[in-house]
């Protein structure tokens, strides 16, 4: 599904440069649910951004579903992101003047899907996250948990191969966090491949595999017994 070989990335800081990723090797199979952990500055966000094609590695290979991701133009990256990836952000990143349904439909709009079909698809995904009744509400009229569920519906809308979540529970309280995690676990149960960055142990333990980063290299990569989130809800 996802294969990364000797990935390097450094950022220039003044005259010197900061080597953030120092040769990452990572392989993720279909249906996996991986937590990427590490302290701040460990390079976990950079890794996620490169996987998300929002950033490009200096060297190394990145193959997504058999497709080598390299020499990306902005346009190509946009098309790949739209087709292959679903993003879930810490701060939801919903468009505040669009209602829930329109937000969910946005990736489909950029796919060039017809309005009617798009709305049906968006509604289907909103129903899936249990927010069908809130379709016409603006993000500011929804709670944090609801907003994150809208964001998840949006990430799912284009039916991506890979879901990328950057601290999906970082802005939520514990109870809501577990609700969201329960939901993400359900998606994984249905077969979605999920990659998430988190620094919370309890959230990481709800995944099936934990990859720990420190100073730009993978320190530990282990499969774990998944803690089901439902029991806390």
């Amino acid at each position: 599904m996802l294969k990364i070989n000797q990935l390097h990335k450094s950022y220039p800081i003044g005259d010197s440069s900061l080597h953030v990723l120092k040769g990452i090797d990572l392989q993720v199979e279909e249906g996996e649910m991986v937590a990427i952990m590490g302290s701040s500055g460990s390079g976990k966000s950079t890794l996620l951004n490169i996987i998300g094609m929002l950033d490009e590695a200096d060297s190394g290979d990145y193959i997504l579903d058999g497709l080598p991701i390299k020499d990306l133009t902005e346009k190509k990256a946009a098309v790949y992101r739209n087709k292959f990836l679903g993003f879930i952000f810490q701060s939801f990143n919903l468009i505040n003047y669009k209602n829930a349904l329109e937000n969910v439909a946005l990736p489909l709009y950029y796919q060039g899907m017809k309005r009617k079909e798009r709305q049906e698809r968006a509604m289907f995904h909103l129903e899936k996250v249990g927010l069908a009744d809130w379709a016409n509400h603006l993000p500011k009229e929804l709670s944090g948990g609801q907003n994150q569920r809208v964001a998840i519906a949006r990430a799912l809308a284009a039916n991506p191969k890979l879901l990328l979540a950057d601290e999906p529970t970082g802005a939520l309280d514990t109870k809501t966090s577990y609700e969201i995690m329960a939901f993400i676990q359900k998606l994984n149960d249905e077969g979605k491949t999920i990659l998430m960055v988190t620094h919370e142990e309890d959230i990481a333990n709800m995944c099936k595999r934990i990859v720990r980063l420190r100073d730009g290299i993978i320190m530990e990569d282990k499969k774990i017994e998944q803690v089901r989130a439902e029991q806390y809800v």
């Binding site: 929002l54 946009a78 098309v79 739209n82 990143n93 669009k98 946005l106 950029y110 284009a158």
Partner: protein
């Protein structure tokens, strides 16, 4: 591209971002609105002014020059300077025959006359004229007729009075046609009342009598006071004036460089001055209008740039969701063009209303100062096309700004 323009979603996006900050969107449009309003109102008014000038000039053969004799200022061929110059009918005929491009030459005599009617009397300017005068200086007749060939042939004692003269000699609403007035002791039959011209275009007079009658009663012989020379439309009246004067100097033995021997009033030149003034005003209007438009469009560009800055994160999200840089740019340009066009259309409509108001206030009646103040559809189209072009160009700046930031940086923005 066309599919994109007719797509409901495109406009949904535009309206969404317009509604996001209604007040600012409206304020943004004020500059362009004002620019186009100014352009429409000023152009319309300039047109109204032009129309009213044309109406005034419509009564004149504008390609005309009036020439009269004065005193010589240079000695020539044994004559002292200061000799009085008098034009003659022969001169007039020779000018008509020899100068190129002449339509006709109308001689005229003029004098002061005392007019008495019953107990009322006054002193008025009286001119002896040919029927041809009517073609140089169209008389607006209120009653009666102008001098005809019959009057000339038989030296008839008939007179046309100006409206002001009539008012001084007759009671209010009294019928004057067919009545008699005493001019220098002789009875003249009133055949017409004409309206005084409302501009000083060429020499005006209070009364007209037949040229031949004038000749006879003042014992003028061959001498004339004026000649009015009208050129054919395709000829330059300034050249005709110069040619005619040179010929007249030759005929009257005047030094060719004597500039004071003849007085003249070139209607064509005066007309050209006013036409030039109108052209200048139109140019100024376009200049001011377009400059204001450009300033207005820049204001839109500026506000859009600020909006883009505020929307950096939103644009980052859209790009993460798969919007290509082209799609982002296109959207921003469409928004810029939309704002510009909206402002423009509102400006054109409100400008039209103001022109209607101007027409109601200043455009009614015969003495209107702004006749039919309006702009042509072509001008409106030109203005709209300029707006679309400017809107597109100015939209490109924020559009490129928006996509110059990498999506990852845009997402980090708070």
């Amino acid at each position: 591209m066309f599919k994109f323009l007719f797509d409901r979603d495109t406009w949904q996006e535009v309206f969404d971002s317009f509604n996001k900050n209604k007040l600012r969107s409206v304020l943004t449009m004020v500059g362009v609105w004002w620019g186009i309003l100014l352009l429409i109102v000023l152009l319309g008014s300039a047109r109204g002014l032009e129309n009213s000038f044309n109406r005034l000039f419509g009564d004149f053969a504008t390609n005309s020059v009036f020439v009269w004799g004065q005193s010589t200022s240079k000695p020539f061929k044994g004559f002292q300077e200061g000799r009085k110059v008098r034009l003659s009918l022969t001169d007039a005929k020779k000018v008509e025959k020899n100068v190129e491009g002449i339509e006709f030459v109308v001689p005229r005599n003029q004098n002061q006359a005392t007019v008495v009617r019953k107990f009322l009397s006054g002193s008025f300017q009286m001119a002896g004229d040919y029927p041809l005068l009517d073609q140089v200086q169209k008389k607006k007749l209120i009653h009666g007729r102008f001098i005809n060939q019959n009057d000339i042939d038989f030296d008839k004692k008939v007179v046309l009075l100006s409206e002001d003269t009539y008012k001084q000699l007759f009671e209010k609403d009294e019928n004057a046609i067919g009545e008699y007035v005493q001019i220098n002791g002789m009875s003249f039959k009133v055949i017409g009342i004409f309206k005084n011209g409302n501009v000083n275009m060429g020499p005006s007079t209070d009364m007209h009598i037949p040229f031949t009658t004038f000749q006879q009663i003042y014992n003028q012989g061959d001498e004339i006071g004026w000649m009015m020379i009208t050129g054919k439309p395709e000829y330059d009246i300034k050249q005709i004036e110069a040619d005619a004067k040179l010929l007249l100097k030759n005929l009257n033995r005047i030094h060719p460089k004597d500039n004071r021997a003849f007085g003249s009033f070139n209607l064509g030149k005066e007309f050209a001055k006013i036409t030039g003034f109108l052209t200048g005003m139109q140019f100024l209007t376009w200049f001011v209008g377009i400059a204001t438009l450009i300033a207005g469009v820049f204001a839109i560009g500026n506000i859009l740039l600020i909006t883009i800055k505020e929307r950096t994160k939103e644009i980052g999200v859209r790009r993460a969701l798969g919007a290509t840089p082209f799609e982002i740019k296109r959207q921003i340009v469409v928004e810029a063009v939309f704002l510009t066009l909206m402002a423009g259309v509102i400006g054109i409509i409100s400008g039209g209303w103001i022109l209607i108001l101007i027409d109601t206030l200043y455009g009614q009646g015969a003495e209107a100062s702004l006749v039919n103040a309006s702009v042509s559809i072509a001008v409106v189209f030109v203005a709209l096309i300029i707006l679309v072009i400017l809107g597109t160009l100015i939209g490109l700046i924020p559009a490129f700004k928006a996509t110059s930031i990498k999506p990852i940086e845009a997402l980090r923005e708070e």
